[in-house]
C-alpha cells in the first residue's frame, strides 16, 4: 500500500523504514540461500531426503506396493524378510505379518496415515491457535485473559492423558484422533502469535494500515500474520514430529488408528501379540519408519529455526 502512496503528488516518500513492512528478500535469492544453508549443514539435506521419500511413499504407495496391504493369507503367515519360497522366489521383502499380509505394502500405505494425522492435526491446532493468538493479542483486555488462561490450564497437565479419556469415549478412528491431537496443539501457536502481535501492534506499518482505514481483520491477516509465519513454521515442524509420536503411542494403546487400517502405529500395536515369539520384523520396520520421519521433522525444525532467525541459534 505504501508503494502506491509514493505516486501521490502530495505525499513525500516514507522516510522511515518502519513505515514499510519488514523487507522481504527476492524470492529466488531466498530459496538459493536456503539450499546453500542446507547443503552446508548436511543433516538438513538428509532430513529433506527422508521427507521426500516418505511423501513419495504416501503419494505413490498404491503404485509401489507389491501386494494388497489388506490381503490375508493363512499359508504365508509370519514369513521372515527375504525368505525364499519353494520356487526360490522372495515374495515378502520385509516379511509378512500374523495374518499373512505383506509388511512392505502396509508400510508404504502407512506413510499416508502418519503424514495425514501429523499434518491435519497441525492444520487444526495451528488454525485454532493462530486465530486465538491474533484475537488475544490484537484486542487484549478480558478476551486476552480468557483465552490465555484457558491455554494455561490446558498446558498445566499432560495432554496425552486427556486424549486417552476423550478417545475412549469417542471411540478410535482417524478423524477423532486428528481432532483430539489437533486441539491439543493450539496453545503453543496462540502464545507465539500473541507475543508477536503485541510487538507488531504498535509498529508504524500497522498504524499506517489502520490510518488508511484498514479493518481489524485485514490488519490481522494482511499485515500481522505474514510477519509471524517464520516462527510458526518452525513450531509446526517440531509439532508434526511430536504429533506423529503421540499418534503412535495412542495407536499402540488401541485408541488411535484402528488395526484394520494399514498405519505405522497400528502395525506396532499388532506386533504386541507376537512380541514374545521374536518376530522382530513386525515391530522393527514400522518403528524405524516412525523414527526416521520424526527425526527428519525434528532436524528440519532445528534447521528452519537457525535459518529463519540466526539469533536463536543454539550457540553453535
Amino acid at each position: 500500500m505504501t508503494q502506491t502512496d509514493q505516486d501521490g503528488p502530495f505525499l513525500t516518500p516514507p522516510a522511515s523504514a518502519d513505515l514499510l513492512p519488514p523487507p522481504q528478500a527476492q524470492r529466488g535469492d531466498r530459496w538459493r540461500a536456503a539450499w546453500r544453508s542446507m547443503v552446508l549443514g548436511r543433516w538438513p539435506l538428509l532430513a529433506l531426503a527422508i521427507l521426500v521419500l516418505v511423501s513419495g511413499m504416501a503419494l505413490f504407495g498404491p503404485i509401489l506396493a507389491p501386494h494388497d496391504p489388506n490381503r490375508q493369507n493363512i499359508i504365508t503367515r509370519l514369513e521372515a524378510p527375504m525368505q525364499a519360497d519353494r520356487n526360490g522366489e522372495v515374495k515378502f521383502v520385509l516379511g509378512s505379518d500374523g495374518m499373512g499380509r505383506d509388511v512392505l505394502s502396509r508400510l508404504l500405505y502407512g506413510a499416508r496415515i502418519s503424514l495425514l494425522v501429523g499434518i491435519a492435526s497441525i492444520a487444526i491446532g495451528g488454525t485454532l491457535g493462530v486465530a486465538g493468538g491474533l484475537v488475544s493479542g490484537y484486542y487484549g483486555g478480558w478476551i486476552d485473559d480468557v483465552i490465555m488462561r484457558l491455554g494455561d490450564i490446558q498446558l498445566a497437565f499432560p495432554f496425552i492423558l486427556m486424549s486417552i479419556l476423550f478417545l475412549v469415549v469417542l471411540g478410535q478412528g482417524v478423524t477423532n484422533l486428528i481432532l483430539v491431537l489437533g486441539i491439543g496443539q493450539w496453545v503453543t501457536y496462540a502464545r507465539i502469535v500473541r507475543a508477536q502481535v503485541f510487538s507488531l501492534r504498535e509498529k508504524e506499518f500497522v498504524e499506517a494500515a489502520r490510518a488508511l482505514g484498514a479493518r481489524d481483520l485485514s490488519i490481522m491477516f494482511g499485515s500481522i500474520l505474514p510477519n509471524v509465519m517464520g516462527p510458526l513454521t518452525v513450531i509446526a515442524s517440531f509439532n508434526v514430529a511430536s504429533v506423529i509420536l503421540a499418534e503412535a503411542s495412542l495407536s499402540f494403546l488401541g485408541l488411535g488408528v484402528p488395526e484394520t487400517v494399514p498405519a505405522w502405529g497400528s502395525m506396532l500395536a499388532e506386533s504386541r501379540d507376537t512380541l514374545m515369539a521374536n518376530k522382530w520384523w513386525l515391530a522393527f520396520f514400522p518403528g524405524i519408519a516412525i523414527v526416521l520421519t520424526v527425526l527428519a521433522f525434528n532436524i528440519m525444525g532445528d534447521w528452519l529455526r537457525d535459518f529463519l532467525d540466526p539469533r536463536l541459534k543454539e550457540n553453535r
Binding site: D152, F157, F252, W280, A283
Partner: protein, 324 residues
C-alpha cells in the same frame, strides 16, 4: 514470598478444577454417558435404572458439582471390572508407577548433565556433533518401541535383563518394612533398568541439549573468565563455577519433565507388563471400565499439577527473582 505462594495455590486450584471440568465433559461429549456404564446388551429398564442410579438424569451443573465434591473426597465411583472403589485400585498400583517414573528421571538427569557439559566443552568437535545428533535421535524414538527393541535384543536374544516383572521397592518403604526394601533393592533395580531406560531416553536427550546450551551461555560470561584468570583448574571452573549456574534452567524443567515421563510410562508399562497405573489404564480402556479410566487420568493429572507446584515453590526459594 507469601503472595507468591498464595498466587500459585490459587492457580493450582483453578487448574485442578479445569482438569475435572475437562474430564467431566469428556464423558458427556458423546451424549448420554449412561451407555458407557452398562453392559452392551442391557435392557431398556436396566438403562433407565442405571441412569437414575448414576445421576445422569439430573441437570448437568448439578452432576458436575457432585462430581467435583465426590472427587475432592477421593470418590471417583466404582471400577466396573474390579468391583471396588476406583481410587483403591489405583492406590494399589501407584507405587510401582512412581518407582518407574523416579528411576527414569534419575537416568535422564544423571546421564544428561555430563553429556551436555562434555558437548559444551568440546563445542564444534565430532564429540559434540555426535552427542547432538544422538540427542536428536533420542527425541525421535517412541519410548514404547525402544522398549520393544530392548526386550528383543537384551531380553530375548542376549538374555541380560528380564523382559517383564517387578520387585516392589517403594511399597515396603512406605509401609515401613525397611528390611524387605533393603533385600529387594538389587532385584528391584535389575527389573527397573530396561523399562526406565525406555522411558528416560527422550528426556535424557532433551536435557543433554538443554545443559549444553545453558553451559555454553555461562561459559562465555565474565565471571568464568575471571575464575580461569585466577588460575583455577578446568575442573573447578566447570563444576564449581559454571555448572552451578548452568543447571538452574534445568531445575525448572524437572516439574514439566515429570509430565513427559508420565506420558511415556503409561505406554512403556504395557510393553514390560509393569504392574502400574499405565497397565491398569490399558486394561481399563480395553474393558471399557470408564470410571477407572477417568479416575486414573485425573489422579495422574493432579499428581503432575501438584509436583509442578512443589518444584515452583522450591525454585522460588532458591532463586528470589522468580517471586517478583
Amino acid at each position: 514470598m507469601w503472595t507468591y505462594i498464595a498466587r500459585r495455590l490459587i492457580q493450582t486450584v483453578i487448574v485442578i478444577l479445569g482438569v475435572t471440568l475437562i474430564s467431566f465433559s469428556a464423558l458427556h461429549i458423546g451424549g448420554d454417558p449412561t451407555f458407557l456404564f452398562v453392559p452392551e446388551r442391557a435392557s431398556d429398564e436396566q438403562i433407565v435404572e442405571a441412569r437414575k442410579r448414576l445421576g445422569f438424569d439430573r441437570p448437568l451443573y448439578e452432576q458436575y458439582a457432585s462430581f467435583v465434591i465426590n472427587a475432592a473426597q477421593g470418590d471417583f465411583g466404582r471400577s466396573l471390572t474390579h468391583r471396588r472403589p476406583a481410587i483403591e485400585v489405583i492406590g494399589d498400583v501407584l507405587p510401582a508407577t512412581i518407582e518407574l517414573t523416579l528411576f527414569s528421571m534419575i537416568i535422564a538427569t544423571v546421564f544428561a548433565v555430563p553429556l551436555g557439559v562434555l558437548a559444551a566443552l568440546k563445542r564444534g568437535t565430532t564429540t559434540d556433533g555426535s552427542i547432538m545428533i544422538l540427542g536428536m535421535l533420542g527425541q525421535s524414538v517412541p519410548s514404547f518401541w525402544l522398549g520393544i527393541m530392548m526386550i528383543m535384543l537384551f531380553g530375548l536374544d542376549l538374555k541380560w535383563f528380564p523382559i517383564s516383572g517387578h520387585v516392589p521397592l517403594l511399597e515396603p518403604l512406605l509401609t515401613g518394612d525397611f528390611a524387605t526394601a533393603f533385600t529387594n533393592l538389587p532385584q528391584s533395580l535389575y527389573y527397573l533398568i530396561m523399562p526406565s531406560v525406555a522411558v528416560g531416553v527422550y528426556s535424557l536427550s532433551r536435557n543433554a541439549r538443554l545443559v549444553r546450551s545453558s553451559m555454553l551461555e555461562v561459559l562465555s560470561l565474565d565471571y568464568v573468565r575471571t575464575a580461569r584468570a585466577k588460575g583455577l583448574g578446568e575442573f573447578a571452573v566447570v563444576v564449581h563455577h559454571a555448572l552451578r549456574n548452568a543447571w538452574l534452567p534445568f531445575v525448572t524443567m524437572i516439574g514439566l519433565e515429570f509430565g513427559f515421563l508420565l506420558g511415556g510410562v503409561v505406554v512403556v508399562e504395557m510393553v514390560f507388563s509393569w504392574p502400574g497405573i499405565g497397565r491398569l489404564l490399558f486394561d481399563a480402556i480395553n474393558k471399557r471400565d470408564i470410571p477407572l479410566v477417568q479416575a486414573s487420568v485425573i489422579v495422574m493429572s493432579v499428581m503432575f499439577v501438584v509436583i509442578n507446584l512443589i518444584v515452583d515453590l522450591i525454585y522460588a526459594r532458591i532463586d528470589p527473582r522468580v517471586r517478583l
